[in-house]
Amino acid sequence: MADAARLDRLGAALFVAATLGLLAAWPGWRLSDAAPADAYAQQPDDFLRQAEAFVDTYQVGERDGLPLVHPPPGAAIPVVARRFQFWPALDLEAGRTYTLHIASVDTVHSVVVQGHELALLPGQVRVIEIHSGLELVLQCGEYCGLGHTRMRAVGRSIR
């Protein structure tokens, strides 16, 4: 009986220590609201005009009702995020590197791409370098309305 009580005390102490250790490891203590290093400011209207000019230059067709662009490898590609699409559709070359400049022009979204999630606030452009595989998926990760789960773009790569 005394042994059982001792074991119980030991178990509880270990449990409390493990809980405190897990809570100490919680990133919530260290996270901050500092502006991300990959962001720069640009008005949504200006960004939209820039993206439209890019589409005029590199459009090669249409996919799912969106203009399809095929920019050269290494290009800086403006991507517009808005309810409920990433615009334009992308055809990229497999194994090449591109830089996406992504910005929201209506409300708050986020983009999940190649394991990273970037908040997309209107007025702020986020920059991410991607290495194109066979498929590039852009997915909104912030609830933005009833069509939120449809806000997903699959860029196909050309070998």
Binding site: L22, W26, G28, L31, G145, T149
Partner: protein, 443 residues
């Protein structure tokens, strides 16, 4: 340590209050079921044109279906479980019940009148209408008042309810802080997402405390021995409360920013798994090392909730982004909580009201096997479909079921869901029948 309460200790007032909370809990499930039928009708060609509601009823009905089948049901069960742990004096209990019931009724007004836009934000979806927010607030206030009265008690059997009560108060504080900190003019979808994000996460600590409380009580009833020794058991409940409390510090971050959202996601990863892991191991030990009566509702509830919750808990560590692995996780973990609450109702609460099983044991066994087995299939199918890339919250052509694997996985989802619903319907009908009409029987 004795953790199950004395069924005969409740006086007439306490029994009346307990019956009221159970009627609210089961009424919420019945209403969620009725709304599910209307949702199906609103998507049925030929039938959908004859419904009094417009084509947007699907999303509005879905919102209230979710709120009744999760929030109202679970919080009303916390209200019910607070009754045996409450100090003497019942006025606060009845007042709390009345407030929560009024809040639940208010939710139905905008839903059935077609008022407000639906917002399918995470955790607590809403209709954007003042009556809906008022209803949710009243449910939160009513259930938290009922649960909070247990915090003044000092007895081993109250630790579980106290942990759930404390986490509920933290969740309400999170909702309040978010409401204060979100700037005016914020886009309504973003506002709802962040208003309910932090508190919604902390509500999962409430649900987990209910699960542990159920495991602890049913293990003692089934095997005459506790799942865990007393100090370790209390440490599990204290660990949940401490981790939930830590969530409040995330409000030093911008409520609309990504770091705030990520802080809560990581809090669930780090703060939630250990207590159910430890107590689940204790329950599994008792199940394996003691004689088991598979006709016993307590044993069925324990074994099935352990299996379903373990599947959901494991899936929680391997989620994708916006695919059906997410509903696999939350259907299974909530399924595990539901199974243990079903067990508590049959084994503890109905007998305390002298409305026990009587001759309905076969139906009880059927509801556990159907609901538990169905939930296992449902969650497994969702997980496999998500692995193959099927997006969540989509239907029809939007799902893009372009491979046999996806088709079979979603077929398993449908079959498992139908089986689970059948088990749930039997449970609701049987328990509501006992609460409303059945002759009194002794446990």
């Amino acid at each position: 340590m004795k953790v199950a309460w004395d069924r005969n200790a409740l006086d007439a007032h306490a029994r009346a209050e307990l019956r009221g909370w159970l009627l609210l809990a089961l009424g919420a499930l019945a209403m969620a079921g009725a709304l599910a039928l209307l949702l199906a009708a609103s998507r049925t060609p030929g039938l959908q044109d004859h419904l009094p509601w417009g084509s947007d009823f699907f999303h509005k009905g879905l919102v209230t279906h979710v709120v009744f089948s999760f929030q109202v049901w679970l919080l009303a069960m916390l209200g019910a479980l607070s009754v045996p742990a409450a100090p003497a004096g019942r006025n606060l209990g009845f007042a709390s019940l009345a407030v929560a019931a009024l809040g639940s009724a208010l939710l139905l007004v905008p839903t059935l009148a077609g008022w407000g836009e639906a917002s399918l934000n995470n955790y607590v979806p809403v209709l954007v209408h003042p009556l809906y927010y008022t209803g949710l607030a009243l449910i939160g206030i009513g259930t938290s008042l009922a649960a909070a009265r247990t915090l003044v008690r000092r007895a081993p059997e109250t630790a579980g309810v106290q942990s759930a009560a404390f986490c509920l108060l933290v969740a309400l504080a999170c909702f309040g802080l978010a409401a204060l900190l979100i700037p005016a003019g914020t886009d309504i979808d973003h506002l709802n997402e962040r208003l309910f994000w932090g508190g919604g996460h902390v509500l999962q600590f409430v649900n987990t405390a209910l699960l542990l409380l159920g495991w602890q009580t049913l293990t003692e009833r089934a095997f005459g021995q506790a799942a865990l020794p007393p100090l370790l058991s209390r440490a599990c409940f204290a660990g949940l409360a401490l981790a939930g409390l830590a969530g409040l510090t995330a409000y030093r971050l911008d409520v609309l920013g990504l770091p705030h959202a990520q802080a809560f996601t990581r809090l669930l990863w780090l703060g939630l798994p250990l207590p159910p892991l430890v107590m689940g191991a204790g329950v599994a030990w008792r199940l394996v090392n003691n004689p088991r009566d598979w006709n016993s509702p307590a044993v069925l509830a324990l074994a099935l909730s352990l299996a379903v919750f373990a599947l959901g808990g494991g899936a929680g560590f391997a989620l994708g982004v916006a695919d059906t692995r997410t509903p696999s996780h939350y259907h299974a973990v909530i399924g595990g909580v539901n199974l243990v609450l079903m067990g508590l109702i049959h084994v503890e609460l109905l007998p305390a009201l002298e409305r026990g099983l009587g001759g309905g044991r076969g139906w009880v066994r059927a509801q556990f096997l159907l609901y538990g087995g169905g939930q296992l299939l449902h969650a497994l199918g969702f997980y496999l479909a998500g692995l193959a890339g099927v997006a969540r919250k989509t239907a029809g052509a939007e799902q893009g079921l372009d491979s046999v694997f996806k088709l079979v996985s979603m077929g398993v989802v449908g079959a498992g869901g139908a089986i689970a619903v059948l088990g749930g319907v039997i449970f609701v009908v049987q328990v509501l029948g006992r609460l409303l009409w059945r002759e009194k029987t002794h446990g």
